[in-house]
């Protein structure tokens, strides 16, 4: 049986300054090792979105890039909400996640409305968090690098992606990210999926459950898993490291 998994990556140029293609690469590698065919649809401004997709991925970009894609993103609102209604998972990192949230309050006090697909509000703050981050999630320990100046306030009933072990996370409540059904919003970069095969496998498991195929991580992931494990060890050991800035 040859099953094709379709991943849409929104605005890979504008919202892709932090190795966001790496998240898609990690998904693709593990899916292909498991014998699945992967189709990645890069969505650029002005394109149409396909009706049937298995995962929506969006990454991080500067405020100017967020404004640049904003009108196009708003025009996709109905389609993206239809995906969510059909339980298509979303994996969103950084400012891309914020655009899918309820709103973004900027430093000058003005507000940018989000699409309301993820249950949180973002507020840009003067203090910047830079460094390694460790999060205890339902899928296991997730590590990565955070670099943001945002506070994420979750809706009262919304769940975080996990509990902070090190780093700053949402800058509110010692938690990191948001977990809404099978959808994830996070500020853990690195990029996070190559570094955390267990999180990548959890996302693939959600896709598999929705599509009704079996997924088991392949033996051919061995080198990826070994390198990720060693990288994670070093990150965990250095997580208390404070980085100097200007």
């Amino acid at each position: 049986m040859n099953t094709t998994v379709t991943i849409v990556q929104l605005y890979p140029d504008e919202l892709g300054v932090a190795g966001d293609r790496g998240n898609v690469m990690a998904l693709r590698a593990r899916l292909e090792h498991a014998g699945l065919t992967v189709s990645v649809v890069e969505h650029h401004i002005g394109n149409e979105l396909p009706t049937d997709v298995d995962l929506v991925v969006v990454g991080n970009g500067p405020l100017s890039a967020m404004r640049n894609v904003y009108d196009d993103l708003v025009s996709l609102g109905d389609r993206l909400r239809a995906y969510r209604a059909a339980d298509v998972p979303v994996f969103a990192y950084g400012s891309g996640a914020e655009l899918l949230g309820r709103s973004i309050t900027l430093l000058d006090g003005s507000t940018l409305d989000g699409l309301g697909i993820l249950p949180f509000r973002a507020t840009r703050i003067p203090e910047r968090s830079v460094g390694y981050v460790i999060v205890d999630t339902p899928f296991g320990q997730v590590v990565g690098f955070e670099d943001n100046a945002s506070r994420w306030s979750l809706d009262s009933k919304a769940k975080p992606l996990g509990i902070l072990e090190a780093g700053t996370g949402n800058s509110e409540g010692a938690v990191e990210g948001v977990l809404d059904g099978t959808s994830i919003g996070t500020q853990v970069g690195g990029p996070v999926l190559p570094l955390n095969p267990l999180l990548t496998d959890a996302i693939i498991a959600s896709i598999a459950a929705r599509r009704g195929f079996d997924y088991a991580p392949a033996q051919t992931n061995a080198d990826l898993d070994r390198f990720a494990a060693r990288a994670r060890e070093v990150i965990a050991a250095n997580a208390k490291h404070v980085f100097s800035r200007i």
Binding site: V17, A18, R21, G22, M25, L63, A65, A231, V234, I246
Partner: protein
Amino acid sequence: MSKPTGRGKPSGLKYFVPVVLGKTVRAFAKLRGGGSAFPGYVTTKLAPGFLEDVTGQFEYGIVYVLGSNGKSTTTHMLTEVLRGHGLRVFTNPSGANLPQGIASSILAESSVLGRLDADIGVLEVDEAFALEFAATVPPSTVLVLNTQVDQLYRFYETERVADMMLDTAQQARQHIVTNREDPYLSKIARRYPDGDATTAPDISYFGASAELIAGAPHGLFNAKDYRDAAIEPEHHDALAELVATDRAGATIDVAGATIDVTLPAKGLHYAIDAAAALATAAVILGDRFDAASSAAAFAAMKPAYGRGELLDFGNEQVEFVMFKNAASLQLNLDALPEPPEQVLLAIDEGTPDISWIYDIDFAALDHVDVVTGAKAWQIALRLEHEGIAIGAVEPDLKKAIELMRALPKPSTGLKTWIVNYEIMMLARKQIGFLELENQR
């Protein structure tokens, strides 16, 4: 910032005590085996007008060289081209580009009466400190090279860096020289109501022909200007245009003359830096600018510290390819004429956030022999996603260098070490090249 006090008489006895003190501190710092920004701090604290007075004596003023990448290389090129025209040039050692470091290097070369025998100063200045420094040492000319995505953990947003550089450029009293191919920088004339027709400073551009850029695997890697409706560069005529490159050099049209230059290191980025240096030399020198003298200066030029340098390694040589960010790594990879026979790839915590390595196209490498540095496992993970064969992962640099030494001598005799700045410094020291960048 204190107000400069030294107007009128350009130098004199009032600087004797501060300069002697600063030089004494410097002598002690050197004895302890380090370069230091502290001597400059001492002198400028005691005599706030010192820097402006010393540099104010230069007939051709001060040139700032700014940019996300290529500052050291271009400063070096411009310095040598100006020297090739007979000018006495003061320049800061590459890497010493923060205000106190620049102050220390000015102090080191000035007399106790506050005189420095030079016709012009060429200074590479860190983007984040340039505007502030311009209040102390006003530039006559500002050369801005490029805006590339760089150190977001430090600069937050690329447009912020672009504005730091554009704001500084506007402090130039005579000339602005900038990159026609850069989406942010090419729009600097918009900051002047008359579009630069009549006011000082004048604005000149350097650039590369459209064919050359289109032929490069990843172009020039300049950041897109997402805050403007036109995210691409604005077109201008270029005073210096890069029209051809080959393995050894480049052909650059400067104000009607065609100049063939040899380049101290390979790559389109070095070639466009050469165009930047020539455009700047041309606006500064005016009628004195001479194509033959410029070409001769390039022919005699050595690579800037760690940028394409060849260092002896037993009976072999190491070619250092140094990068600081995504743009410099990609452009250096694009400049490799073929996949290198033996490769070491290294990044340590000096580059805190390396998420961008997933945005790099590593197709220029067919394998990597040794991956090293504190981030070695993260690099290996990235390469594995690309299916690039890895010989060994050895986070310890010393051991990694021994692994490279143990490999058979390559047919070219050349081992290619692709390293971030901090590893470059450590690796040089490790193989017996002890001088620090700012001590050269």
